[in-house]
């Protein structure tokens, strides 16, 4: 299992809003596939799959905030 993590986006940026998911539970993903977008401070940052597998869970839904370094979901 691999956690999907909100990466460091810059100094002083502690969180971001998940604007949209491009995948849903159960979808197969490949390494590097664009799976969701996090928005902070008028910037939209595309997050990629950190592993190949299936989306097992999504813990931060669209419109919800995520903490930098925190989990967004799990790939297994």
């Amino acid at each position: 299992m691999t956690n999907i993590i909100l990466p460091e986006l810059g100094e002083g940026i502690a969180k971001a809003t998940i604007a949209c998911w491009h995948v849903k539970l159960g979808d197969s993903v490949v390494l590097g596939q664009e799976i969701c977008e996090a928005v902070t401070d008028k910037a939209s940052f595309v997050i990629e799959a950190p592993a190949v597998g299936r989306i097992k869970s999504i813990s931060i839904n669209e419109g919800e905030d995520a903490l930098v370094g925190g989990g967004l979901g799990i790939i297994e």
């Binding site: 986006l9 100094e11 940026i13 604007a19 902070t40 401070d41 008028k42 910037a43 940052f45 595309v46």
Partner: protein
Amino acid sequence: MKQRFVVEDWGLIDYADAYNRQKTCVQSVMTGEEDRLILCEHPAVLTLGRMTKPDSLLYQREDIQARGVMITSVDRGGDVTLHAPGQLIVYPIFNLNKRGKDLKVYMEKLEEVAVDLLRNFGILAISITGKRGVFVGPDKIISIGVGVRKWVTYHGLGINVNTDLSLFNLIKPCGLNVRMTSIQKLNGHVMPMKDVKIKVAELFHKKFL
């Protein structure tokens, strides 16, 4: 080491065409080509950013389109904004892997370029903490919205040079109850777009080389 970039002027270009060309540029920059600074204008279009609120459009979509203004959703941060002829669009396609992976620093640099640009045209503008964009008094003159893929930037700045400001009455710009202004309105005459483009390129070279 200095990170160079190439300036490209795409002239007046349809929003969708420019978006597709931006995506091609992003791919090129990802694979090691030089960064780009793209300058252009768009025919009238409302772009809905990822955080657009339902009440940011003040009229029905059909009524807006009947005025010749297209509407499209886009993958940048922020709410709704308007692009139209007379507004200088600046799309920096910059590889932040080579320039520092910090979105806050990048956005602040864009605002600094914008403030410096306006000062060159005799306008005292400011950025406001917590509100991206550049303001003259309470009025907004430059909008900012950015997208980032693999730390390569796209989208960018909308600088109201000679924009028809009445078009902003269709929306709450950036989701705010704010009035928009332009260089033309503040200085009382049409500003040659060529002069603004030259100055934008010069200031980006100062800030980002």
